[in-house]
């Protein structure tokens, strides 16, 4: 990050959401990297950009395809890399042909010559990076958005080498670690494919149980299954779906219809309030031991620093006890045992990551197969090699621009997009407890032009309504927004539950809902916000 020439920060306000990572980005910028920020909002991060490209919400594929077409047209694609390491180029090339600069401008709103300049600078750079966050993935075509960015990177050979690559910034401290450990519907620990019989057999042998050869459900699929009454019992660990999921009114409804809801939580949440059984748990990051994996695949130790509140139990203890009550004593004495088992079942992945080595190196980046391996700073350098060493080719993917499922219309003329504040986190369960001087609670951020149109000034109460719900919230004028675009966070659901507005149009591949775009209407509220709030 600190030693690269061009950075495309795409759908990310890392200045707020990943502040310390942004330090490293700024070191790169101070070292001379040219920064493009692609974001509908001129966010805090975008204000650092050499070029801010204010795309229409959900037009990322259009931008990416337009850049790709321009790169190919100008002959700036990395032909040697493509022929050595990629497949599907011709099909891809054909698929982006219709995305001329003019079409790109039409679809994204970004002037053609700006797209052209970005495409050329990215393609010509010696080292270049694409980094993204939820602006790419919280769409109904999330996986396609990511594939569109991967296309650009392999088109130009900006992968698998120092100072280049694709860098998804994880929103939660262990969302990567969850995946590492197999908490993905079709994966086993170490991202091993559950659908491959040989792999499944190995785990079956190790665990002494039969594994079903069918993938599980994504969260969004679970909600649909609950709606169908197909899923009737739910065990929720450290998640607040009643407030954090799109179309919250609907989610709360299906949760309330469950036969059995178990919630394991560190403090009271909306979801916990609905539980039939509540399991008070120790906070995993400071009241118990374990590991987490960060965005750069670095596995690090978490340690018990303080005792949990009275009655709250270590999560490993809870799981052990539940297993016991279900008739099997897992007999797991401590987190290190769990970790070492993981190293055993995923040796290529984490074999070299003993607790002792994790301590010694301030964490290690996977894959780290043996005790002499320093870990991997970046992946995919194999693509620069030939023959067997290269391994599987990197495929181009044909992806098409669709735009958000719900587009603004006469009844709901605004696009609502969502994001984070610097000082708060998710639904505020953990950040509501400290006295942040930055905290301004939930607001409906609105462009100065629209504020005039709506007749609202900063502080005035507005009513925001979507096809799914309605709420009142104070308005706040933000020059970073353009007319037609409004913004809210998800941090203050007890004050304004943004997710009653959002749409549960989810991506079939990743299961992520389109938090980043739904159509709303905004009017000056006639009723004031109750004083106690």
């Amino acid at each position: 990050m600190e030693d690269t020439d061009v950075i495309l920060l795409w759908g990310s306000n890392a200045r707020n959401a990943h502040p310390i990572w942004f330090h490293h980005l700024l070191k790169g910028v101070r070292n001379g990297a040219r920064l493009y920020v692609i974001d509908p909002r001129r966010s805090e991060s975008a204000q650092w950009a050499d070029v801010w490209m204010g795309v229409h919400v959900g037009s990322d594929i259009a931008l990416s395809n337009t850049m790709a077409r321009e790169i190919i047209r100008a002959g700036l694609h990395n032909k040697e890399f493509i022929s050595n390491a990629c497949e599907g180029f011709e099909e891809y090339k054909a698929s982006v042909q219709s995305y001329t600069l003019e079409v790109g401008e039409e679809l994204t709103g970004v002037p053609a010559e700006v797209i052209r300049e970005c495409a050329h600078k990215y393609a010509k750079a010696d080292k270049a990076m694409i980094c993204w966050t939820l602006g790419i993935t919280e769409h109904h075509d999330a996986a396609d958005n990511v594939l569109a960015l991967i296309n650009l990177a392999i088109l130009t050979g900006h992968v698998g080498k120092w100072g280049s690559g694709l860098n998804p910034l994880r929103g939660q401290n262990n969302v990567q670690g969850g995946g590492d450990m197999g908490a993905i519907p079709n994966r086993l620990p170490g991202f091993q494919d559950m659908m491959v019989p040989a792999i499944r057999e190995r785990f079956e042998k190790h665990w002494g149980v039969k594994l079903q050869p069918t993938p599980g459900w994504h969260l969004t699929e679970m909600i649909a299954a609950m709606d169908r009454k197909e899923l009737t019992a739910l065990y929720v660990i450290g998640e607040n779906p009643a407030q954090s999921d799109a179309d919250a009114n609907h989610v709360q409804h299906v949760l309330s219809e469950l036969d059995h809801l178990v919630v394991q939580e560190i403090c009271m949440t909306k979801t916990a309030e609905m539980a039939h059984v509540l399991l008070p748990a120790a906070a995993s990051w400071c009241e118990s031991d374990g590991t987490v994996t960060n965005s750069e695949r670095r596995v690090q130790r978490c340690r018990k620093v303080v005792e949990p509140p009275a009655g709250a139990k270590d999560e490993l203890w809870i799981i052990n006890e539940i297993a016991k009550r279900l008739g099997k004593d897992l007999n797991i004495p401590d987190p290190e045992t769990v970790w070492n088992e993981f190293r055993t079942v995923a040796p290529d992945f984490a074999g070299g990551m003993s607790y002792a080595r994790l301590d010694e190196h301030h964490g290690l980046q996977w894959p780290c197969p043996n005790e002499n391996d320093p870990g991997a700073i970046f992946l995919h350098d194999r693509l620069w090699k030939q023959g067997a060493e290269r391994g599987t080719a990197a495929p181009f993917s044909v992806v098409k621009h669709e735009g958000p499922v719900e587009k603004p219309d006469a009844q709901y003329p605004f696009t609502l997009t969502t994001g984070r504040h610097l000082d708060a986190y998710n639904t505020g369960v953990q950040t509501a407890g400290y006295d942040s001087p930055l905290s301004r609670g939930e607001t409906l951020d609105i462009s100065p032009e629209d504020a005039v149109r709506v007749g609202a000034n900063t502080g005035d109460t507005v009513r925001v309504t979507s096809r799914r719900g309605s709420l009142i919230v104070p308005a706040r004028i933000d020059t970073g927004l353009r007319p037609g675009l409004v913004f809210m966070t998800l941090h203050y659901p007890d004050d304004a539950m943004t997710n009653v507005l959002t749409i549960n149009a989810s991506d079939p591949k990743s299961g992520t809902a389109e938090f980043k775009a739904c159509a709303v209407n905004v009017v000056l509220a006639t009723t004031a916000i109750p004083a106690h709030r």
Binding site: R15, V29, R34, L35, R42, E44, S45, A46, Q47, W48, A49, D50, V51, W52, M53, G54, V55, T108, G109, V110, P111, V114, E449, R482, P483
Partner: protein, 670 residues
Amino acid sequence: MDIKLLDAEATPEERQAVDARLGEPHAAWYGTQARTTRELHVAFGGKDQRDRRHLLLPALQALQERIGWISEGGFNYVCERLTVPPAEAWGVATFYMMLSTQPRPKRVLHVCDDIACRAKGAKALCDELTGQHGGPLPHGIGKGDGHAAGHAGNGAAPGPHSLARRDSAGRIVIDDSHGAWTTSPCLGLCDVAPAALYIEAGPTVVERSLGSVDGDFAMGLLGGGAEPDDVLASVGPAKETQSTQNTQTTAKYHTVTGCLGEPRLLKRIGVVNPTSLTAYQMGDGYEALEKAFELGPEGVIAELNAAKLLGRGGAAFPTGRKWDAVRQQEATPKYIICNADESEPGTFKDRVLLTGDPFAIIEAMTIGAYAAGCTRGYVYIRGEYPLGAQRMQHAIKQARAIGLLGPKIMKRDFSFDIEVRRGAGAYICGEETAIFESIEGKRGEPRNKPPFPVSHGVFGKPTIVNNVETLANVIPIILGGGAAAAKIGTEQSAGTRLFCMSGHVARPGVYEVPMGTTLGELMELAGGVSGSGKLQCALLGGAAGAFVRPDEMNLRLTHEDTRAAGVTLGSGVVVAFDDTVDMLDMIHRIAKFFRDESCGQCVPCRVGTVRQQEALHRIAAKKPHGSVQDELALLEEIGVAMKDGSICGLGQTAYAAVESAIKRLNLYPV
């Protein structure tokens, strides 16, 4: 970058002033009010915008000149235009004493109360003004305050002189029917002492250097009298010529120049119209540049080396070596800076050159740029020299108009241009690395050396910094040859030197004499001791210099002789004091000067200058901490620590004059 602005709006006048200096905003994101559709989808900024930081000081000056002070709204607008974080801009705005972050009336009279003017009654003038008008405006801001010392509230409450109040809408309203006054360190007008600088903010700022100021005149100005004339403004030839010793009074009122022997540096002063390039060219103007082109870069440097030209700013570094060092650097672009921030108390020679012979400075800089491969030049002129800045700007414009600056100078493959930057009231910006910081739009805090300017100068690039007088030497050296120039003066101190004669001398002015001339001869050239007629002592070299006694008139003015005597030529200052002068008061003023002018960066200087001042006052008040001897020992230790431990020359010399008063004048007998 993401900056957070204060909740304050600029007035239309403030916006106009800033826009006139910076140009119209190029995008809504940086200061316009309406947004185009295109702007809602693209913004350019980043490095290009951060690289505009160097315009911060000019933009703040634009507000100061238009409004008379820098309001929150105006300040905000500058930050928005340049994307400078407000706290950073605040650090800059509060560093320069000619910028006010406090409400002030449009008319402010800056009255010099420094040593030379003090010898000529400045203290009495200030007392008279205090009595008749009220006390001076306070300087700067207090610790942790957002407002000037003595003012209450966040730029809100009316101060005793600001005559400011808030109206019902909370806007600050200033009564401009009366002006205000403030004290000033040396204004570089010592030859016309007691001096003042009159500034009237407005659409066209009025800045006038004033001499022989008395109470009635000052009160008249404060009360709204007519706009005064600049004491230096005359462009014509001398009105009277004193044929003896080739002395001429040249300026409208008082400026005196003179020389022993053939003038080299003052040749055109008062003779050639400084506002006419044609007049300059009718003499031998621009012949030196042509000759330089013939000599080639190495030839030019060889001539300077042959002339044994040493820098005239105080440090006496060989100029040829400096140019050569920059020439050999690989990094580009390279810069040449004319250090015209002459602020050493008692110094005004550069002022005479800037106002009297601006084309020679441009030509010399162009030669330097050619020799070292510089493409850009700055003339950094102290804020107290409005006429100098004006004359330089005018001259640059004329030179550019006929292709003597800009691309392809004299049709050669050589491009070079010059920009004038004005200081804003900070002695420290005469320090060569502080100049860089100031030009870059920062606080004028000197850098630690090494790395040296020849490799890491302004914007981190190779840079020549030459004093005005040094540059003035270049022309005669190139024209007459280095060897011939080296014959003037002594073996180790070649050439002529300008001396600024002020205080109790009969004809204060700038005198050019060959190095090696004695102090006595110089005094005689300036008409001898005036006042009581009896010399008590003279300050040689400026506030960073040392005192000499009447029995030292045989001192030869060379680097080697002064070094041997434990004094310094410094910036060529001689301030004479007759036997009626209260020297303790002078010492206190010098101590105050260093305390006021310390940038505050390093501990020895920031605290040491204060501890020095306190000890001197304790002794004078006959309340020493311990014995006087203890205090003198303490002063010595403070002085050694300042000299050995400070980052730059300011701290390193802050004890020099005090030390000489103790040791050479025996002003503090034990």
